[in-house]
């Protein structure tokens, strides 16, 4: 394939679904929020939650400390709710608008009962609305609750009320406040005591409508001794204007529980000129509330025009463990400012951070990490490895870790290094019969191997292919 042909390689998810959507008027104010809450038949406490968050948001200003250059977002020029007019029926996916079903099939996520992926229960979110969840019956048998937040508010209000906003309060940051005010839907998941969830749980987000902000909210609660593996995947069509994605993911792991959360993210990154593409601002945080709890975040980021996310773990319970494994690939004019925070509070806590950044073309890749050991955190242990690979001479890599230790029994180790794909390495592989593209893929995959192996198999295969695709034609 010639270089020009490779250039034309298109984002294959860039199609648009033709479905009527019910939209609110543009803009954001208390009336819109009340309308939103009313449409969803929400109880009073939830409306209050939203209003309080909105009022908080009004007092905050857009953060400027991150490295990315973000064009100012006119928050009044967005739609805050877009629901596909086709009605959804809880539990029965056969009644979903066939156009929507087709959309998800094209994405490789068949929702129809006959064709569903076995082993993974999927909650599909189209624009801001959860369309339904597969496998609900199987999960109900073991007491696992996996449904949309809207449904959860209706059926299990006490549970939602107990945990919503406890890990990421509205006051946490600008986008958290916005999300807490206008979130439309997302997934709720509860694993009861001692249960190992029989299926991997997954949510697929798809932003379709124009000029919509997508504000979903995910809440995962793992009760004592439980285990769940959660996969998040996302795609969006190719459009000229930017779309905003400001999500919140909260994870609560109680005593002896374990949650593994993986994301393979392939939002539309904008074209080569940087037009269009998704602005992805996500606040993800988990709290190891009970002793021996474990939370791990694995992410492969290869999309979105501007990414801003710092999955974090608060290690409150004694012996709790947090991990963060990440590959962030930036190409063309993408900007990524990502990293993690590990806060050690309990005793004998452990955290591991492995972050691999790959930048090509004129992109910018920033790692920002915080390892904080509080005075109470006896015997805390952290190991951080942060590596950057630069391809081409126009890109940039930046590493800004902060290590804050207030307890002398802690051991904290941090290493960072930068490399490029050496001409020697390429030549060696080429002399063994590999073409340049393949050689680059091989080297980059070796670079990312440690992170990929923490992904579930299907995802790791997808991740490898994704990186390969994204890197095409980036090697000089």
């Amino acid at each position: 394939m010639k270089a020009e042909e490779k250039l034309a390689q298109e984002y294959k998810y860039g199609f648009v679904t033709d479905v009527e959507t019910e939209e609110f008027p543009k803009g954001l104010n208390e009336d819109i929020i009340r309308l939103l809450s009313q449409k969803k038949n929400e109880p009073e406490w939830l409306l209050e939650f939203r209003l309080k968050s909105y009022r908080k948001w009004l007092t905050m200003t857009h953060p400027t400390w991150q490295y990315c250059q973000i064009p100012p977002i006119d928050f009044q020029d967005l739609y805050y709710y877009a629901k596909p007019k086709a009605k959804k029926t809880a539990g029965s996916l056969d009644e979903i608008d066939p156009e929507l079903l087709e959309t998800f099939e094209k994405l490789g996520i068949p929702l129809g009962e006959q064709k569903r992926i076995s082993g993974i229960a999927v909650d599909a979110v189209f624009d801001s609305v959860s369309l339904g969840t597969t496998h609900q019956a199987d999960l109900e048998k073991v007491g696992v609750i996996f449904c949309s937040i809207s449904e959860a508010v209706e059926k299990y209000p006490e549970l939602v009320k107990k945990y919503l906003g406890t890990v990421v309060p509205a006051s946490d940051n600008y986008y958290a406040a916005l999300n807490s005010a206008v979130f439309s839907d997302g997934s709720f998941c509860y694993i009861p005591k001692g249960v190992t969830c029989p299926l991997d749980l997954s949510t697929y987000f798809r932003i379709n409508a124009k000029e919509t902000g997508q504000f979903e909210r995910t809440l995962i609660v793992a009760d004592e001794g439980s285990f769940v593996r959660y996969l998040e995947g996302c795609t969006a069509p190719q459009r000229d204007e930017n779309q905003l994605h400001a999500a919140i993911v909260e994870i609560v792991a109680l005593k002896d529980a374990e949650v593994k959360y993986s994301t393979v993210q392939n939002w539309y990154a904008g074209d080569k000129e940087g037009k269009g593409g998704i602005f992805n601002f996500v606040t993800k945080r988990g709290i190891c509330k009970g002793d021996n709890a474990k939370i791990s975040w694995t992410q492969v980021e290869a999309g979105s025009a501007i990414t801003w996310k710092y999955p974090s773990v608060i290690l409150k319970g004694n012996n709790s463990q947090g991990a963060f494994y990440s590959v962030a690939l930036t190409n063309h004019k993408m900007q990524a400012d990502t990293g993690t925070k590990m806060i050690h509070i309990g005793k004998n806590t452990r955290s591991t951070i492995i972050s691999k950044g790959i930048s090509a073309e004129e992109s910018q890749n920033v790692y920002r990490g915080l390892v904080q050991v509080m005075a109470s955190a006896d015997n805390a242990r952290n190991y951080t490895q942060c590596d950057s690979m630069l391809i081409g001479d126009k890109c940039r890599a930046n590493t800004f870790p902060t290590i804050d230790v207030k307890n002398n029994t802690a051991v904290v180790e941090h290493e960072a290094s930068t490399s490029k794909i050496s001409a020697d390495q390429l030549f060696y592989l080429e002399s063994r019969g590999m073409d340049k593209e393949k050689a680059v893929s091989l080297i980059v995959n070796g670079f990312c191997k440690e992170v990929f192996k923490t992904l579930p198999l299907e995802f790791s295969v997808e991740a490898v292919k994704l990186i390969e695709m994204k890197l095409e034609n980036s090697v000089g």
Binding site: S388, D393, N407, N408, A410
Partner: protein, 307 residues
Amino acid sequence: MRMMFQELPEYLFELKNKVVFFNGDYSPEMSDLKLQDLEIKQSRTDAINLLHFNQESQIHEMAVSVVVRSGCKAIINEIHFSIDHHSEHHSLTQILVENGAKLTHHQVIAPYQGKKNHKAHVEVFEQGQYQSVLLDMGGNDIRVEETIELKGPHANNQIDGLIRLKNQERSEHIIQVNHLAPETTSQQKYKTMVDNESRAHFTGKIYIAKVAQKSDSALMNKNLLLAKKSHVLSLPQLEIFADDVKCSHGSTTGQLNQEELFYLEARGIPKQQAQEMLLSGYSSEIINKITDADLLKILTPLSRTHL
């Protein structure tokens, strides 16, 4: 103002017959050197001592500029000490190392009372070398900010730093190295030792510009927390705009190495003594980088109580 030798702290008496500038003022007589635009036109093996001190409840400001001309070699010892703990001392040292020149810069902050703010700005040109040893022996309010710019190809910078804080002390060091030309190199090793209720804050920034291809930069920061309420903040930062470079940094924080401790104990050395040996060894690694024998001699009695 002129300062008499008798007023100096005892440990500095050693400098009696050396080249010494006190707070910009020069004593004793030496014909060819002036402090403002201290210009080194030929190599010299004896060190030039610059002493900065505070006194009499005032805010002092001191600016020094040094140029080391092409191909010359020199050693400068800059010693900051305090006499009065109600005063403030702000110093700025500007250094230019021309092509092929080499400057060894020993910077010592003697145990300090009062506020100490020190800035240094260094430019190093082609094939120039700047070697710096920075010893901070602690104080209640110390801040050091240094920027080193490697402006010509093959310019090199080496920094060995030590921050030693006893109880209830505070110190912040910000070191930035900018690689602005191709094939420039820098090595930084910064250690801290922090005792009870003290806080050491270290920021080590490495910036590699797009034109600085084939540069090589390494930063190692080691932090030793000696007591329950010791606090360390470490920010090693990398900003890289060129792809054909080697760049790494590392930061470790913890207590004395248990294996090293056991090794000494297994040879009959009791725990307390073994700990002292390790602490002394930890700081010796940096102190021994000082190449001026006279300065080392001055530091020895100080180091027994402070390092």
